[in-house]
C-alpha cells in the first residue's frame, strides 16, 4: 500500500507565472511513502491529508509526484528541466465523494482503493482523469 501526502490548501504567489509554476495547489500529491509511514506533526490537517491506497506500490505512486514540465502541453517545445506546474496530476478533492470527505475530516486520512479514486485524479496537461 502507498500513502500519498496531499496538499489541502493552495499556496500562492503575487507573480501569476510563479504562482502557477512554483506553488503547490490543493490536491497536489507532495510525497509518496510506504504503508505505515510515520508522518510528521505538520504533515496533516490543515496543510495536508494522507490518502492511503491499498494495492498501489510506492513505485507506482511516483507517477503522481512528477511535475508538469514544458512539453507536457500540446504544442510546447519539450524541455524537461522547466517545470510548468508542481504536479502534473491533481486530486480533485472538491469532487470527492462525501463519505471520503467525512472520513478525512474525522481521521486526518482516508483509505481508498485506486479504482474508487482514479476518476478524481486529473492529468492537468491533458485534462483527462485516470
Amino acid at each position: 500500500m502507498a500513502e500519498f501526502l496531499v496538499k489541502l490548501n493552495d499556496n500562492t504567489h503575487v507573480n501569476p507565472t510563479k504562482d502557477q509554476s512554483g506553488c503547490y495547489k490543493r490536491g497536489d500529491v507532495v510525497v509518496v511513502m510506504p504503508n505505515g509511514h510515520e508522518w510528521g506533526k505538520e504533515e496533516g490537517y490543515p496543510k495536508f491529508v494522507v490518502v492511503k491506497i491499498p494495492g498501489m506500490t510506492v513505485a507506482a505512486g511516483q507517477k503522481y509526484i512528477e511535475p508538469q514540465i514544458q512539453g507536457d502541453l500540446v504544442g510546447e517545445m519539450r524541455d524537461p528541466t522547466i517545470i510548468t506546474r508542481r504536479r502534473k496530476y491533481n486530486v480533485l478533492l472538491d469532487t470527492a465523494p462525501q463519505a471520503m470527505i467525512v472520513a478525512a475530516r474525522a481521521q486526518g486520512y482516508i483509505t481508498v482503493d485506486f479504482e474508487s479514486i482514479k476518476n478524481i485524479i486529473k492529468n492537468q496537461a491533458t485534462g483527462q482523469t485516470e
Binding site: 509554476s21 510525497v31 495536508f48
Partner: protein, 327 residues
Amino acid sequence: MATEVIKTIKPSGGDYTSLSAWEAGEQRDLVTADEIAVAECYAMADTTAVVLDGWTTSSTQYIKIYTPPSERHDGKWNTSKYYLRVNSQQVIAIAEQYVVIDGIQAEVTESWVSARSVIHVNSSGASNGQIDINNCILQPGNTNTDGGYGINLPYVFGLTGATVNVSNSIIQGFFDTGGQGIGISEADFSLNVYNSVITNNETGINQSAGTVTITNCAIFNNTTDVTGTMTVTYTASDDTISGTGNIDWDSGSTDWNANFTDYSNGDFSIKDTGADIYNAGTDLSGSGVTDDIIGTARPQSTNYDIGAFELIVGASGPTIVHSMAGR
C-alpha cells in the same frame, strides 16, 4: 531582524518526514512575514526530489536548509547522517533568489535522462539573488551513460545577475561521459568556489559562459580539471593552471596520496604538514569562509589550507564553530 522559523525533518517525531514536504508546507512570502525559513534536517535517507520555488525571499529573509552538527556528515559520505538520495533528474532544483544549503549530502541516481544534476539552478526566479552552498557533499549514486552534474548552472532565459557561492564542499564522481563537477553556461551567473574539493569527474569545472572564480580549491583526478575562462588562484590541480598560488601536481596518485588522508575512499582531510596544500591558501574571511567542512576554524596556522579541510596540528582537538550567526 527576521525571525528564524525552524522546522525539523526527521524520520520520527519531527515536523516533517521529507524536505519536499517541508517545502510544500512552508512555502510562503518570507519578506512580508519577515522570516527566515529553516529546514533542520536529521539523520535519515530522504528520497524525494526538492524544488525550491513559489517563495518570496530577500537577502535577509531567505530559505535555509541545513543539518545540525550531530546530524551532519563528517566530511565523508556517511549514510548514518542526513542525506538526499533521489532517483530524479534533479535532486534540489532552485528557482529562488536567496537560498542557503549547509551541510547536506546529496546524490542523484536517475539513470536515463540527460543533464541529471544534484543541484540545479534553472529559473529566472534566481535573478539578482545569492545562493550559498556550504559544507556539502554532492555525487552521483550510480554510473550512467550520461555523467550529469554536481551543480548545474545552465542557460536560463531571462536570468539577470545571480551569484552562486560554493564553499567547503566536495563534488565527486561524475566521471561518465559529459560529467561535470560544476557546469556553468549562463552569462549572468557569477560562480565563486572556495576551499572545495572537486575530483573524479570527467570535467571538474566547465565554464562556457558566466564569471567564475576559484580559490583555495583542490581540483584533481578529473579527466580535465577546468575548462573555460576563469580566475583560479591558490588551487591545487594535476593539470597546469596559471594563477597566483596555484600548485601543479603530477597526474597520478603520488601527489594525491601525499596530500590527502585517503583520497581513494573519499577522505580528503589533509594528511600532514608535509602536504603541498597545507598552509598554502589565502584568507577568505572576507568572503565568509571562516571554518572548514567539519567546523574547524580557519586558519589553524598562518594561512588557510587548500581544500575542504583545515589541518589541526597538535592534539588539542578541533575548534568547532558551526556558527548559526549570519547566513
